[in-house]
C-alpha cells in the first residue's frame, strides 16, 4: 500500500500540476505504487462534501504527504489550506505562488477593490455589472503565500518548479532522507561567458534579441547582463536549470526571477537595485522597477503605492 497523499490547488494556474506530469514515465510507478493518492481534484474524483454533495463541512481525508500549489487569495483557499494542514503530516508548498505569492500577487501592488470593480467594467462587459458575491468565495485583503497562513514543512519554488526536483523531493520523503536541492542563485547554474561589465551603464528593454551565434552552445554566449539586458539571475534562487543552463537563458532570454529570491526572505527588487548600483549601472534605466517583485509579491513585499496623504493629520 502506498504512502497516502493529498494534492490541492489554491490560487493556482495548474502549471505546477503539469510540471508534476512532466516527470514523465518515472511518475507512473510513483503514483500507482509508491503513493496512494486519496485526494487530488485535478486527477481524481474525491469530493469535499461527500460524493453526492450532501455534506456541509469541507473535508479532505487524512494523508501522510500533502502538496499544495497556488497562493491564498480568497476564503475558500484559506479553508482548503487549513484543512490540508490539519489532515496532512508533511505539507509541501509547491511552486512560487505557494512559496512567494507568484504572479497573482501582482494584485498586491494595486488597489484590490478598485481593480475588481474595473474588471467588471471592461469595454465588452455589459454595463451595470457588479462584482459577483453569491456562492463564490469572498476575497482576502491581499494575496498571501502559504507559509503566511499555516506552517509549511517544505518549500519548492519555481514557475513552474523543475520536475526533476519535484521527483527528488517526493522520493527523498519516501526514502526518509533530506532532499538534494541546488542552493544559491541562477548565476551559479549559468554557463554563459563572463568578461566583465564593459561599458554598460544602463539596462535596455528586451526589444532586441540577444547577441549569439545560432546553434552555438550556451557557454559561448556572453552573459545577458553584460550584454546590457536586465537579467535577474543574481537575485533569483537556482533550480530551473535543465540540460546545463537556466531555462530562459537556454532560449537566449533574460531571467525574470520566477524561482523567487535566493534566500527565503530576500527582496528581489532591493537586491537587484543593489547589484546594479554596485556595478555603476543607472537604476533609473529600469522601466517599472516594481515588476521585479512580480514573483515574490506576498509577505508584504508589494503594496499599493500610496497617493499623497495631504489631508491626513
Amino acid at each position: 500500500m502506498g504512502v497516502t497523499t493529498a494534492l490541492e490547488w489554491l490560487g493556482s494556474c495548474s502549471g505546477c500540476e503539469i510540471a508534476i506530469l512532466n516527470i514523465g514515465e518515472a511518475l507512473v510507478p510513483i503514483i500507482t505504487e509508491a503513493l496512494d493518492i486519496v485526494h487530488a481534484p485535478v486527477l481524481m474524483d474525491h469530493k469535499y462534501f461527500g460524493q453526492c454533495g450532501e455534506g456541509v463541512t469541507l473535508t479532505i481525508p487524512e494523508a501522510v504527504v500533502g502538496i499544495v500549489t497556488g497562493g491564498v487569495s480568497n476564503h475558500e483557499h484559506l479553508e482548503v489550506l487549513e484543512e490540508m494542514r490539519k489532515k496532512c503530516k508533511v505539507l509541501i508548498a509547491l511552486g512560487t505562488c505557494a512559496t512567494h505569492g507568484g504572479i497573482p500577487a501582482l494584485m498586491n501592488g494595486q488597489d484590490r477593490q478598485q481593480s475588481w470593480e474595473e474588471v467588471y467594467q471592461t469595454v465588452t462587459t455589459d454595463p451595470g455589472a457588479q462584482i459577483p458575491n453569491v456562492e463564490v468565495p469572498a476575497p482576502l485583503d491581499r494575496v498571501y503565500a502559504c507559509d503566511e497562513k499555516v506552517k509549511i514543512d517544505m518549500q519548492l519554488p519555481g514557475c513552474p518548479p523543475n520536475p526533476e526536483l519535484i521527483a527528488e523531493v517526493i522520493v527523498s520523503l519516501l526514502e526518509n532522507r533530506a532532499p538534494v536541492l541546488p542552493g544559491k542563485s541562477v548565476c551559479d547554474t549559468c554557463p554563459t561567458r563572463r568578461e566583465g561589465k564593459g561599458d554598460v551603464e544602463k539596462v535596455k528593454r528586451f526589444i532586441t534579441n540577444a547577441t549569439f551565434k545560432p546553434g552555438e552552445p550556451i557557454d559561448q554566449m556572453r552573459c545577458l547582463l553584460e550584454q546590457g539586458y536586465l537579467c535577474m539571475g543574481p537575485v533569483t534562487a537556482a533550480g530551473c536549470a535543465k540540460r546545463g543552463a537556466p531555462a530562459c537563458i537556454s532560449a537566449r532570454v533574460p531571467c525574470r526571477g520566477c524561482f523567487g529570491p535566493v534566500r527565503k526572505d530576500g527582496n528581489q527588487l532591493l537586491d537587484m537595485m543593489n547589484a546594479l548600483a554596485s556595478n555603476g549601472i543607472d537604476y533609473k534605466s529600469v522601466v517599472d522597477r516594481r515588476s521585479l517583485l512580480r514573483f515574490s509579491g506576498a509577505h508584504g513585499m508589494l503594496r499599493p503605492v500610496k497617493k499623497r496623504a495631504d489631508k491626513e493629520d
Binding site: D141, L269, L270, M273, A277, Y283, K284, R289, R290, M301, R303, P304, V305, K306, K307, R308, A309, D310, K311, E312, D313
Partner: protein, 59 residues
C-alpha cells in the same frame, strides 16, 4: 548622494511616502540646527502616521 536619491525612490516602490526619509548634514558645532532638524522630522512623521495604516484608504 545617488544612493540617497535611490532610497527615496525605492521607498516609494514599497508604498512609503518619500517624506519618511531625510538626509541632513549637521556638524557637532551646530546644536540648534540639529535640534531643529530632529524636531521638524518628528513632527513630519507624526503627521504621516504609523506605517502599518497601509490598509486605510488614502486620499
Amino acid at each position: 548622494m545617488t544612493r540617497s536619491d535611490m532610497i527615496v525612490e525605492l521607498l516609494g516602490d514599497f508604498g512609503y511616502e518619500p517624506e519618511r526619509f531625510s538626509l541632513t548634514w549637521v556638524s557637532s558645532a551646530e546644536p540648534d540646527k540639529f535640534v531643529a532638524a530632529v524636531t521638524e522630522m518628528t513632527a513630519r512623521i507624526k503627521k504621516l502616521g504609523p506605517v502599518n495604516r497601509q490598509d486605510a484608504s488614502v486620499a
